[in-house]
């Protein structure tokens, strides 16, 4: 078996690939680098596959915590791993939008699943999952409720601040002046989408566009992004585990 582990800033994901290059199991734990998350998700994925650590022929680590994680044979960036993982699961994908807990990436992919170009957000929470966490807190809802809320929006509201901290103040003042939380939720999604559109333009995006990462679970954002890009955006299968699956595929190639 071949193990891929994606250690992010706020979650850890693991995936197993067998000798026939088939996906056997995936797991996710909402604890990222510097926590017990990586070890726990590995234990979980091994339990799911009913195997032990000794059955792992090769392990590749990816994600923010890949360099400090000592349990891998090799480490590869999440950019290469997302490209690999998504291209394995979906045919014809040319652009991948990956929005994680603390960063956002747009990756241009070739026919062979190899990275052709990429851009990352700067060291700033705007346009990332952290931005949504802050918005959910201000709106008094859970992060997974944002999508349903935004779906009920009837009026366009623009959150003009590009900085998460200033956007928080802006949202508070919008709510204070009577704006509906549904409209503000959609405004927050639009704010992320506009940043991502800018990144897509920089990298030179082309369809098919797939989205990965935790934020891809928010169907309203996927919809808003599709509108802004004027091109359909598809949520990748195993969206949060796509990087780990890519890492497991690299492990398969290196270990076999």
């Amino acid at each position: 078996m071949y193990l891929g582990i994606d250690i992010g800033s706020s979650s850890s994901k693991a995936a197993l690939i067998n000798e026939n290059k088939e996906l056997v199991a995936t797991d996710l734990i909402n604890m990222g680098t510097g926590t017990k998350g990586p070890d726990e998700t590995i234990s979980n994925v091994l339990r799911l596959a009913k195997i032990s650590r000794e059955n792992i022929a090769f392990t590749v680590a990816t994600g923010y915590g890949r360099v400090t994680f000592s349990g891998a044979d090799s480490q590869i960036t999440e950019i290469s791993c997302h490209a690999k993982g998504v291209s394995f699961m979906m045919k014809g994908v040319r652009t991948i939008i990956d929005i994680g807990g603390q960063d956002a990436k747009v990756i241009k992919v070739g026919n062979d699943g190899k990275v052709k170009n990429f851009v990352m957000n700067e060291k700033c929470a705007a346009g990332t999952g952290r931005f949504l966490e802050v918005m959910a807190r201000v709106l008094g809802c859970k992060i997974d409720e944002l999508s349903d809320l935004a779906d009920k929006s009837t009026t366009d509201i623009s959150i003009s601040s590009v900085c998460t901290v200033f956007a928080e103040s802006e949202v508070i003042s919008r709510l204070a002046s009577g704006a509906a939380i549904e409209d503000v939720a959609r405004g927050a999604h639009l704010s992320i989408a506009k940043r991502i559109v800018g990144m897509c333009s920089r990298v030179g995006y082309e369809p098919v566009i797939a989205m990965t990462g935790g934020v891809a679970l928010n169907s309203n954002i996927v919809k808003v992004l599709s509108n802004e890009l004027e091109s359909s955006v598809i949520t990748a299968p195993h969206t949060q585990a796509a990087g780990a699956i890519g890492a497991a595929l690299f492990a398969y190639e290196k270990g076999i």
Partner: protein, 376 residues
């Protein structure tokens, strides 16, 4: 080879310890130091007067006092320089020379007078239209004014003979550096990206003549050995400055070698060969007139993009790396133009933003490693 290692290590240590290195150079030469701000200053005049020109390209320091003059969205090199100045690090300087190549530098010229009153400032204004004869004539006049200022500081005239001698020492330095960057691209293992930068940077803290002697020795030593078989990625780098050094360590970790550069702190200082005719000051002015592809010198039609493309071909590089100093307006204004040209030439390009006060490199590590994986 051990002699080569000693020379390399000597220059690396000098670049990594500017304070100690300048103190040693002052002691060894008996010359008083004059600080020279980026991008270009007429160092030959400083040298001809018997002073030691010292480069002032910032450094990593906690910004506490500089905020009074330069906000957090200003160039971090200038913020570092003001901070060092205010906390007395530069008190040993006889004066500083500050050119006005960008909006921040223009402000710094005035800020310095009140922020660091103990170190006199000499400002130098380069012509906007240097390609016109009037621009050239103006620059000659401006350099002569700087000469007058330095003579006043010294209390004695700079002879024509000393001016010519100084210019010749600088021309020898520049010739040696052109030879150095040409030769080291065949030795990217011994002279890796970090070492290459540190060797070039050491020039800012030494007497140019002593430095040139060491560079010539390094080049000769390298030429005695065969070219290295490097299986990594060869790149051309551009930007204001290839720092912090931690960034270069990431390049080395990922087997990426800078085989040619367009850094303002590095090759732009020495890539132009002077004309033969005229006085030293006239030749100095022509060197600025003849400089091409520099963000800080106006060009009606930007030549930088094509220049980088040519550099990639000549040095057999695979890609261009743009090291963007945050809030460096001139370099940022040029970026979209060069990006379009380089992309059109189908040359992969990596864009990295840096500043002098960086202490977290994880995101940059991901970018650089991904780029290496993409090209590998």
């Amino acid at each position: 080879m051990s002699e080569l290692k000693t020379l390399i290590s000597q220059l690396e240590n000098i670049a990594l310890n500017p304070g100690k290195s300048v103190a040693k150079s002052v002691k060894d030469t008996g010359k008083e130091p004059i600080g020279c701000f980026p991008i270009y200053t007429p160092e030959e005049i400083v040298y001809a007067a018997g002073y030691l020109p010292v480069g002032m390209w910032g450094g990593k320091t906690e910004i506490k006092q500089a905020d009074k003059y330069l906000q957090s969205f200003c160039c971090s090199i200038m913020r570092s320089n003001i901070e060092y100045g205010m906390k007395g690090t530069y008190d040993g300087l006889k004066a500083v020379i500050i050119p006005t190549f960008c909006d921040t530098l223009k402000c710094v010229c005035e800020n310095w007078k009140t922020a660091v009153p103990q170190v006199p400032v000499i400002t130098v204004v380069y012509p906007q239209n240097r390609l016109l004869d009037a621009g050239y004539q103006y620059l000659v006049t401006e350099f002569n004014r700087i000469k007058d200022e330095i003579e006043k500081l010294k209390g004695e005239k700079i002879s024509s003979k000393n001016m010519e001698k100084s210019f010749s020492i600088y021309e020898n330095y520049r010739e040696a550096m052109r030879s150095f960057v040409k030769v080291v691209k065949d030795y990217p293992i011994t002279i890796n990206t970090r070492t290459r930068h540190l060797i070039i940077k050491a020039a800012y803290f030494m007497d140019k003549k002593d430095y040139t002697d060491i560079i010539i020795q390094i080049v000769n030593e390298l030429k005695n050995s065969s070219a290295e078989n490097f299986n990594g990625i060869r790149v051309v780098a551009t930007g204001l400055i290839g720092e912090p050094v931690e960034l270069l360590n990431i390049f080395v970790e990922n087997n990426i070698a800078v085989v040619a550069d367009d850094f303002a702190q590095e090759s732009r200082q020495f890539r132009v060969q002077a004309r033969n005719k005229g006085t030293a000051i006239e030749k100095m002015a022509y060197r600025i007139v003849d400089q091409k592809g520099c963000t800080f010198l106006y060009e009606e039609v930007k030549t930088k993009g094509q220049m980088l493309i040519d550099m990639v071909k000549e040095s057999k590089a695979q890609a261009v790396v743009v090291v963007m100093m945050k809030f460096c307006d001139p370099e940022e204004f040029d970026y979209p133009i060069i990006k379009e040209e380089i992309e059109k030439a189908d040359i992969p390009m990596l864009y990295i933003e840096t500043d002098m006060q960086m202490d977290s490199y994880e995101q940059i590590r991901t970018r650089v490693q991904s780029f290496a994986e993409m090209l590998g």
